[in-house]
């Protein structure tokens, strides 16, 4: 078997908020073309992992490697490297139109023609947005806003996509739709995707493998099949882990 290239690697990273240890020696890696789940209870530090990759919170200790080279993440440079982030809570630019949200998503794309082409391309994946391009993003439904947030992130044609609780606050049917889109993006573009979720078993249907985070530490990592069969999720969420 050919070993796939490691794109991004977190080595023994810790993050502190004031006196609070949010992350404590986390190791995590993302390989080319895979979908990886990151699950754990509220406050486990899932969002913090994504934020530290994106230079939104400072690293206390540890290393972040991009293509095996150590980096100090600065948000706009991370985007230029080809990593996109969809933060928690469907944060679209609500006073901008859908079209403007997509244009801003492609802010780092200099070429006007290329920008247009990418808008066409992402609208192909999210046809619901096509009819609403001139509407303010704030007027969309929750599910549509999540689709827009995803579409906006795709505008940079990312190598890695980081998604923070994309299912939050959505109806089960819409969640399924969003997960299908995530799978579609991965299959179409070979995009590596890290999906953070609280506790959704159905996520395991689309991911290749996953990490379980609890109290700032990775407590388990396995393939999606192993995760489905294990009772680790129940244990973590019932607080029964020693």
């Amino acid at each position: 078997m050919i070993k796939k290239e490691i794109l991004l690697q977190l080595k023994n990273i810790s993050v502190h908020y004031g006196g609070v240890k949010a992350l404590d020696g986390v190791n995590l890696e993302l390989d080319e073309g895979e979908i990886v789940a990151l699950m754990g209870p509220n406050g486990a530090g899932k969002s913090t992992i994504l934020k530290v990759i994106f230079g939104l919170v400072p690293l206390h200790s540890g290393k972040i490697l991009w293509h095996q080279k150590e980096i100090t993440p600065i948000t706009y440079e991370v985007v230029q490297m080809g990593i996109a982030f969809v933060p928690q809570g469907r944060r679209v630019f609500s006073n901008l139109t859908i079209a403007e949200n997509l244009e801003i998503g492609g802010f780092i794309v200099d070429n006007k023609k290329e920008l247009k082409r990418r808008i066409e391309e992402v609208l192909d994946i999210f046809p619901v947005l096509k009819r609403k391009l001139k509407l303010k993003a704030g007027s969309l439904s929750g599910g549509e806003q999540q689709m827009l947030a995803l579409a906006r992130a795709l505008m940079i044609d990312p190598k890695i996509l980081l998604l923070d609780e994309p299912s939050l606050g959505l109806a089960p049917k819409v969640v399924k739709e969003v997960f299908n889109k995530i799978k579609e993006i991965n299959e179409r573009h070979k995009t590596t995707i890290l999906v953070v979720e609280h506790n959704i078993k159905s996520l395991l249907d689309i991911v290749h493998r996953g990490y379980i985070l609890d109290k700032g530490k990775i407590v388990f990592q396995a393939t999606s099949n192993e995760l489905r069969q294990s009772d680790i999720l129940e244990k973590v969420f019932m607080g029964k882990l020693a």
């Binding site: 994106f54 939104l56 948000t75 706009y76 985007v79 230029q80 982030f85 933060p87 944060r91 630019f93 609500s94 006073n95 901008l96 403007e100 244009e103 801003i104 998503g105 802010f107 780092i108 906006r152 992130a153 505008m155 940079i156």
Partner: protein, 288 residues
């Protein structure tokens, strides 16, 4: 003699000056979310820069004006770089930024007094030579005609900038959600510093125009700023059109109230208007 035409013209002139201050103030407010109290004194700095180069050093007036505009913008940019940006990086609250800007305002105003004294200065060397235009039974000086045109041009420029360019869209994205703006790859610190330059330069233009119209003194900045803020609030914070509308509502309210009550009350009118809006329409005319 019918005074109404002249009152209308005076209202439009006042509204034009206020709209320059209001638009530039909201531009900066929208991306930083704090009340930059140093904004008014930057207008006056623009005026004094022209005074210095044109009247003390006897430079060509157009070069002096260009210099004044750029210098006001440059001071705004520097203030952001050395004071506001470091404070933002330390996650200082908006209250702290406001207090810092109050300190800057006081210091800059004192500096102007030291350099130029508190004497009233006018930039037009010969007021009597100004052309007078008759319009709708009222009269306007050449400077006042220019004030109105500049206000219209700057408003159009800002609207086009905000809605038609990538830079403008980035400004609107930052004002919507600055963290997500960063996340999509916008170097928000850089864009904000450009906004400080642009906003301060527009304030400088307002100060220079005032210098040609009625003259300037160091303490005028605060009054000008407060009028700009009142215009922004009654128009609806965050909305460019609202700022312009608020500026003209204020200009008309001030001038038409002078018709019936004594001139000393002029400044009070702005605050009475502000209080009425805060009580009955706190989000302003343009915001729902």
């Amino acid at each position: 003699m019918n005074v109404i035409p002249q009152l209308i013209l005076n209202s439009i002139i006042a509204g034009s000056i206020y709209s320059l201050i209001a638009i530039s103030f909201s531009l900066i407010y929208n991306v930083t979310k704090f009340f930059n109290l140093a904004h008014g004194v930057l207008a006056i700095i623009g005026g004094y820069t022209v005074f210095y180069f044109a009247q003390i050093l006897n430079w060509n007036i157009y070069i002096a004006i260009t210099f004044g505009i750029v210098f006001a913008g440059f001071i705004g940019l520097i203030l952001d770089k050395i004071i506001y940006l470091p404070l933002r990086r330390r996650k200082a609250s908006n209250m702290i930024l406001l207090v810092a800007s109050l300190g800057i305002m006081t210091a800059l105003q004192a500096l102007l007094s030291i350099l130029f004294t508190n004497e009233f200065r006018t930039l037009s060397r010969n007021i009597n030579e100004q052309k007078i235009f008759q319009l709708l039974n009222g009269s306007l000086t050449q400077t006042q005609v220019i004030i109105i045109f500049v206000a219209i041009l700057i408003t159009i420029f800002i609207v086009l900038l905000l809605f038609k360019t990538q830079f403008g869209k980035a400004i609107r994205a930052i004002s919507d959600d600055d963290e997500v703006a960063k996340i999509v790859g916008i170097n928000t610190d850089k864009i904000i510093s450009y906004v400080f330059f642009l906003g301060s330069a527009i304030a400088g233009i307002a100060g220079i125009l005032m210098g040609f119209d009625i003259g300037i003194e160091p303490t005028m900045g605060l009054n000008l700023l407060l009028k700009g803020i009142v215009a922004v609030i009654i128009g609806g914070i965050g909305n460019v059109y609202g700022s312009v509308l608020g500026a003209f509502v204020l200009g008309f309210a001030e001038n038409f109230s002078m018709w019936k009550i004594a001139g000393e009350w002029k400044d009070a009118v702005a605050f009475i208007l502000l209080i009425i809006f805060l009580l009955f329409k706190p989000r302003g005319i343009m915001n729902k």
